[in-house]
C-alpha cells in the first residue's frame, strides 16, 4: 500500500463516526418516504416496488463484498435465483406449517452454505481476486445451466411457478398477501431489517477486520488474522442475504426462470453497485432500486439504447469516478465542510 492511500484510510477511519451518523439519518428518511409512498401512489408502481427493493438488497449484498472486503463477485444473481428456486420448492412441500416460512428459513442457509463452500475452497488457497471473478462468473453460468437442464425439478426454460405465501400467526389467524398493500408492508420491514443488520455487521469488529483486509492484507496476516476465514465469512453472509432476497422476490413475482441467475443479471448488479458507489451500503440499496426502476421503465421505451447508455456510464464511473455517486457526494460534502472551516 502506498503512503498516500494509507493516509487516506486513516483519515477516512477518523472521519467515520460522523459519516455513519449522517448515513443513518438519510436511511431513516428514505425508509419513511418509501413507507408513505402507498398513500400517494397506487397501482403498478406499488405492485412492483417490493421487487425493486429486493434487487436493492441484492445490490447491497454485493456492496458488502466489493466495498468492504474488496472482492468482486460476478455471480451474485446466482444466489438470488437459488433463493427463488428454494422458495418455489419449499412452497410445494406440506409439513403442516406455513411452507413460506420454511422457504424463508432455508433459503439463507442454502445460499450461505453454497457461498461458504465456494469461498472456503478458493480463499483458503489464496486464489487471486481476478480469478474469483471468473469462478463466480462460472458459478452463475452453472446455476443457469443446471436450472435449464434439471427440468423435472426446476421446470427448465419454462421456469417455475411460485405460490405467494400468506402470513400466518398460528392460532391468531392469517393475512393473505395477494393484494399489493399487505405484501408491500410485509417486504418493506424485512428490507429495512436486512439493511440494519448488514449496516451493524459492517461496523462490528468483524466488519472492521474486513476493511483492514481490504486495505492491507499482508499486515492483517502478520497481525495473526485468519484472512481466508474472514473472507469466507463475508462471502457466506453476502450469499445468504442474496438468497433470502431471492426467496422473497420469487414469492412476490410468483415466478422464477433460469435467466434470473444468469451472467447478464449478475453483472447488471455489478453495474448498479459501481454506479451507486460500492463502499456505501445505502447507496447500493438505493442504486439497486433506482437503476432497476429506470431499467424497467426505459426498457419499454428504448431497450437497446438504455443498456448501451448504462454500459457507457459504467465505463465512465470506472475511469473517472471510482466511488460512484455516493463517493462523489461524500467527497463534495467533505470539500464543502473544509471550505466552511476556512
Amino acid at each position: 500500500m502506498t503512503e498516500h492511500s494509507e493516509k487516506q484510510w486513516i483519515e477516512s477511519a477518523a472521519a467515520k463516526p460522523r459519516n455513519i451518523f449522517s448515513e443513518e439519518i438519510v436511511a431513516v428518511i428514505i425508509f419513511i418516504i418509501i413507507a408513505l409512498l402507498p398513500i400517494f401512489i397506487t397501482g403498478y408502481p406499488i405492485y412492483i416496488l417490493p421487487q425493486y427493493m429486493l434487487f436493492g438488497v441484492l445490490a447491497m449484498s454485493l456492496a458488502l463484498l466489493w466495498g468492504f472486503v474488496g472482492i468482486l463477485s460476478f455471480g451474485q444473481a446466482a444466489f438470488f435465483a437459488v433463493g427463488a428456486y428454494t422458495m418455489g420448492l419449499a412452497m410445494q412441500t406440506n409439513f403442516g406449517v406455513n411452507s413460506g416460512y420454511i422457504g424463508i428459513l432455508i433459503s439463507p442457509l442454502v445460499g450461505g452454505a453454497l457461498a461458504a463452500i465456494t469461498g472456503y475452497f478458493l480463499f483458503n488457497a489464496g486464489v487471486k481476486a481476478t480469478y474469483f471473478v471468473l469462478v463466480t462468473l462460472a458459478l452463475s453460468i452453472m446455476i443457469e445451466q443446471i436450472a435449464v437442464s434439471q427440468s423435472d425439478i426446476t421446470g427448465g426454460w419454462n421456469g417455475m411457478y411460485i405460490d405467494r405465501m400468506p402470513l400466518t400467526f398460528g392460532s391468531l389467524g392469517e393475512i393473505s398477501l395477494y393484494n399489493d398493500i399487505p405484501v408491500y408492508y410485509a417486504i418493506l420491514p424485512v428490507v429495512i431489517a436486512m439493511y440494519a443488520f448488514v449496516r451493524w455487521f459492517a461496523t462490528s469488529r468483524f466488519g472492521k477486520i474486513l476493511i483492514g483486509i481490504r486495505e492491507n492484507e499482508d499486515r492483517m496476516t502478520a497481525l495473526g488474522f485468519n484472512i481466508s476465514a474472514y473472507k469466507t465469512g463475508a462471502f457466506a453472509l453476502s450469499g445468504a442475504i442474496a438468497c433470502l432476497a431471492g426467496a422473497l422476490y420469487g414469492a412476490h413475482a410468483n415466478f422464477v426462470a433460469p435467466s434470473l441467475g444468469g451472467v447478464l443479471f449478475s453483472t447488471e448488479v455489478v453495474v448498479w453497485v459501481a454506479i451507486a458507489g460500492r463502499s456505501s451500503l445505502l447507496a447500493a440499496l438505493l442504486g439497486g432500486i433506482i437503476v432497476a426502476s429506470l431499467s424497467n421503465y426505459l426498457s419499454t421505451v428504448t431497450p437497446d439504447y438504455w443498456q448501451l447508455v448504462l454500459g457507457i456510464i459504467f465505463i465512465l464511473v470506472i475511469v473517472f469516478l471510482k466511488g460512484g455517486v455516493a463517493g462523489a457526494i461524500s467527497d463534495l460534502s467533505k470539500h464543502l465542510q473544509s471550505k466552511v472551516k476556512q
Binding site: 481476478t130 471473478v133 462460472a138 452453472m142 437442464s149 453483472t267 454500459g311 470506472i318
Partner: protein, 284 residues
C-alpha cells in the same frame, strides 16, 4: 472399439476448435496481462461480420479475413482509447473490458438484430474413413487451428518481432531501456489477439446459429482453457487446456445432457484452478 475411436475423434475436433476460440484470449492475457472479458463479444462480432459479408455475396474465406480485420480494428480502438491507460491495474481492465462486452453486445443487437442468423457451411458433407465419418468443415477448422498456433509459435520463437515481444514479457524495464517501444508492442499484441478472436468467431460461425450471446459460453470456457493450460503457456498450454476442457466435455456428454456436462467441467476446472493456479502442468 468404434465408439472409443469416435469419441477420440470428437474430443480432438472439439479440442482444436476450442483452442482456436481461446487463442486470442491466451495471447492477450498471457502477453499483456489483460483479462479480456470482452473476448466473447469479439468472437460474436467476428461471427456477425462473417454473416454480414457472406450475405452480401463475399466468398467465405475473404469474409473471415475481413471479420478478423474488423475485430482487430475494434480491438485497436479499445486499446487506444481506454485499455492502454490501465495496463498496471488488472482489476480495472477486467471491469473495463466487461463494460466493452456489455456495450458491444448492445451495439450488435441494434445493428444486426436479435434473430438467429445462419452462415452457410462452405464445406458441407463428411469425409468417410470407413468406421468413422468426420464432418469436412470441422476437420478443416481443426487443421487450421493447429496451423495457426504453429505459425504463431514460429513468429514468437524464430523472428525478430517474437524476440522483442518475449523480451518485453521477461523484463519490461530492461526491454524499454534497450529502446523497445513498449506501448507500441502492447498495442500490437492487443490488436493481434483481438483479430485472432474475430477470426475464430468467423470460422466457428458456420458450426452454430449466430446470436448476440454466442460468445458468452466461449468466454468462460476460453478462460478455463487458458488457466488450466497455464497463463503465458501460449502454445502447449492452450492445446492442453483445450484438450482438458473439450475432452472432458465430450466424455461427460456421453452420460448426461450437454449443458449439464458443461457444468461438471466448469466444476472440475475450478478444482484445478484451486490446486494448480499456475496451470495443470506447473506446481505453483
Amino acid at each position: 472399439m468404434e465408439t472409443i475411436i469416435s469419441v477420440l475423434v470428437d474430443a480432438t475436433l472439439i479440442t482444436l476448435v476450442l483452442a482456436l476460440a481461446a487463442f486470442g484470449l491466451a495471447i492477450i492475457y498471457g502477453l499483456v496481462g489483460v483479462i479480456n472479458m470482452g473476448h466473447g463479444a469479439m468472437l460474436t462480432l467476428g461471427a456477425y461480420f462473417t454473416w454480414a459479408t457472406t450475405t452480401a455475396g463475399v466468398p467465405f474465406i475473404l469474409a473471415v479475413v475481413l471479420a478478423a480485420l474488423g475485430v482487430a480494428i475494434v480491438g485497436l480502438l479499445l486499446e487506444h482509447i481506454i485499455i492502454r491507460h490501465f495496463y498496471d491495474k488488472p482489476f480495472d481492465t477486467l471491469l473495463l473490458t466487461w463494460a466493452f462486452f456489455l456495450i458491444m453486445t448492445e451495439v450488435i443487437k441494434i445493428v444486426f438484430g436479435t434473430d438467429f442468423r445462419n452462415v452457410s457451411n462452405p464445406l458441407p458433407g463428411a469425409i468417410d474413413f470407413g468406421t468413422i465419418k468426420i464432418p469436412a468443415y470441422k476437420g478443416a477448422i481443426a487443421i487450421f487451428s493447429l496451423l495457426l498456433i504453429g505459425a504463431t509459435a514460429f513468429v514468437f520463437y524464430k523472428t525478430n518481432l517474437g524476440i522483442k515481444i518475449r523480451a518485453l514479457i521477461q523484463n519490461r524495464e530492461a526491454a524499454s531501456l534497450l529502446g523497445l517501444n513498449i506501448s507500441r508492442t502492447y498495442k500490437f499484441v492487443f490488436c493481434i489477439g483481438s483479430g485472432i478472436a474475430g477470426l475464430a468467431g468467423g470460422l466457428i460461425s458456420p458450426m452454430l446459429s449466430v446470436d448476440p450471446y454466442i460468445g458468452n459460453v466461449f468466454l468462460i470456457r476460453s478462460f478455463f482453457v487458458v488457466i488450466v493450460g497455464g497463463v503465458g503457456q501460449l502454445f502447449g498450454g492452450t492445446l492442453i487446456g483445450s484438450f482438458f476442457i473439450g475432452g472432458a466435455e465430450t466424455i461427460f456428454a456421453l452420460f448426461s445432457k450437454q449443458v449439464f456436462a458443461q457444468s461438471i467441467v466448469f466444476l472440475l476446472a475450478i478444482v484445478i484452478l484451486r490446486y494448480r493456479p499456475a496451470g495443470i502442468l506447473k506446481k505453483s
